[in-house]
Amino acid sequence: MKTKEKVIEFGLGLSALITILTTVGILWVLLVEAFSFFGKVSIIDFLTDTQWTPLFDEKHFGILPLVAGTLLTTFIAVLFALPIGLTIAVYLNEYAYPGFRKTIKPILELLAAVPTVVYGFFALQVVTPFLQSFIPGLAGFNSLSAGLVMGIMIIPLISSLSEDALYAIPKSLKEASYGMGATRFQTAFKVMVPAATSGIVVSVILAISRAIGETMIVAIAAGQQPRLTANPLVPIETITTYIVQVSLGDVPQGSIEYQTIFAAGITLFIFTFTLNSVSYWIKKKFQEKYE
């Protein structure tokens, strides 16, 4: 009996260990390749050079254009999704009938379940032509339409998680506010939203992290041209797109070109890791507040 229990525990523990191995694997893969990369390219150049042309003879390894592209699309996406997502969350929580809320939430969550390659298709085939019909200077590949579609993708992330956060606020708080004679609007924005701040912030951070790591939409619709610009109308390249771009070809292992995708990967990793850690920390810190 005892041994059986021990064996089982050991087996289960081993499975859990796989997750550690995955992380170690990721770090190891990224670090090993990035290490050789930074053996050849100074980290200062990497961080300060404003050009990214590692595949060409005239090589520049400035990650900034890729970071700029990534942030630009992310910014557009969040700028678009945050107000809508938050409004939805508040609306569903405070105004909507329970039945409506119950049906609409899974439907909204479908927005997040749509494979991103499909969103890429929309961005390229639907949204860009649509936007071009009234934005003359809009290039075929651009960060605007990719960003907007990415925004649509992350709306449910924000609305759902924020709504969960609002929903987790005890009903008694809402009643307290009503009981004081507050309107629903006041209740929502003076009591519920502040009370759910941590949850809402977490949802936004996760949405940002998701947008930063998003690949297919930008790879399909935003272009493949590293460029340090804030102009949403022209093609740019994100970190993820770059990795895809290189992966579509087959650069020789061990070459600096090959290592660049890991350098880009580790940059991406640091971004998302930081964001995730922050959100994890916030979540942990505020978790038990209402229990």
């Binding site: 595949l55 060409f56 005239e58 075929g140 272009g223 771009q245 087959d250 020789p252």
Partner: protein, 315 residues
């Protein structure tokens, strides 16, 4: 076709891995597709990693056939040798590298090689950013550049021919191994200028505008010349006309399925190359290819010449 023979063919099994040039990909893809109809159980997969990537795998013995839009380099021969791999290079078709702009682009009538160099050379990066920097009368608008990915033979060939040094160009352009992406980009971008294989232009004639090229030398036709079957075949479309290859591995020709496939390839490339927009080989070229392949097989496959001949005929 007599059904018995068909069955025999449909029973043949095998697995052939092809990778390499995206320029050559359409031809090989077409061949593989047709081939698959006759030999459904010989499984041919075709990757598109670019010529360089293809040779890399080829030299490691991971693939049987490598598509290439340029001849193999010495370094690549070296590493193949290391793995005891010999090869035969067969010409699959000819290509005219096409320089294209968006149909809405009304100002570009032609480009000279010098102008192309000015645009694409490494020094241009960050400097030549507007159309009017090329010719003052052209509009003061941004120029958006698209080009084949750096792993591609197309890129190698283009830089060699235009900039004068292989693999040397500016880096701030939309570069893709996948020429379709370039087509997409250029066809939706009024300020675009790009280059890629002729086939991709052929398939998208309605969305693109071809730019005549003037090499400013008199020996191969005067003034700006558009790529076309004739101009490529008669080499007046200079310097951007080129041959496309497939390389077959000495290890792989030991297998019947590979031999069948290559033979089928050589038999059908003419029609299929045309279909996908390339310029087909002359019959003479084809015969020469077949000959060289036969010899290659003879050398590596340990099969008698007559049975090889039978095998070839049975196609």
């Amino acid at each position: 076709l007599d059904s018995n023979r068909f069955d025999e063919k449909s029973d043949k099994r095998g697995k052939i891995k092809i990778d390499g040039s995206s320029t050559v990909f359409p031809i090989t893809e077409a061949v593989a597709e047709e081939f698959n109809k006759i030999y459904p159980r010989i499984r041919v997969s075709v990757g598109l990693s670019g010529t360089g990537g293809g040779f890399k795998k080829f030299s490691r013995g991971e693939i049987d056939i490598s598509n290439a839009s340029r001849p193999i380099k010495d370094t690549e021969i070296e590493s193949s040798k290391k793995n005891n791999i010999d090869f035969v290079d067969l010409i699959a078709a000819y290509d005219g590298l096409s320089v294209v702009v968006n149909p809405k682009n009304t100002w570009v009538d032609y480009l000279t090689v010098a102008e192309l160099k000015k645009i694409w050379e490494p020094e241009a990066q960050g400097k030549i950013m507007r159309w009017n920097q090329i010719r003052p009368e052209w509009p003061d608008e941004e120029i958006h550049l698209y080009g084949a990915g750096v792993e591609s033979g197309t890129y190698d060939y283009f830089t060699e021919a235009i900039v004068g040094k292989s693999h040397s160009s500016r880096g701030d352009f939309t570069a893709s191994e996948d020429d379709n992406v370039l087509v997409q980009g250029i066809s939706t971008d009024k300020l675009a200028l790009g280059f890629f294989g002729f086939a991709y232009f052929e398939e998208n004639r309605d969305k693109l505008k071809l730019v005549p090229i003037d090499d400013e030398t008199e020996d191969n036709g005067q003034g700006p010349i558009l790529p076309s079957v004739e101009t490529v075949m008669n080499k007046t479309y200079a310097p951007l006309a080129r041959p496309l290859f497939i390389y077959v591995s000495s290890e792989s020709v030991k297998r019947e399925d590979v031999r069948i496939f290559v033979n089928y390839y050589l038999d059908n490339t003419k029609t299929l190359a045309r279909e996908v927009g390339y310029i087909a080989l002359t019959p003479k070229d084809t015969e020469e290819d077949k000959k060289r392949f036969f010899d290659f097989c003879l050398k590596y496959s340990n099969i008698k010449a007559d049975s090889l001949e039978n095998e070839r005929k049975s196609n």
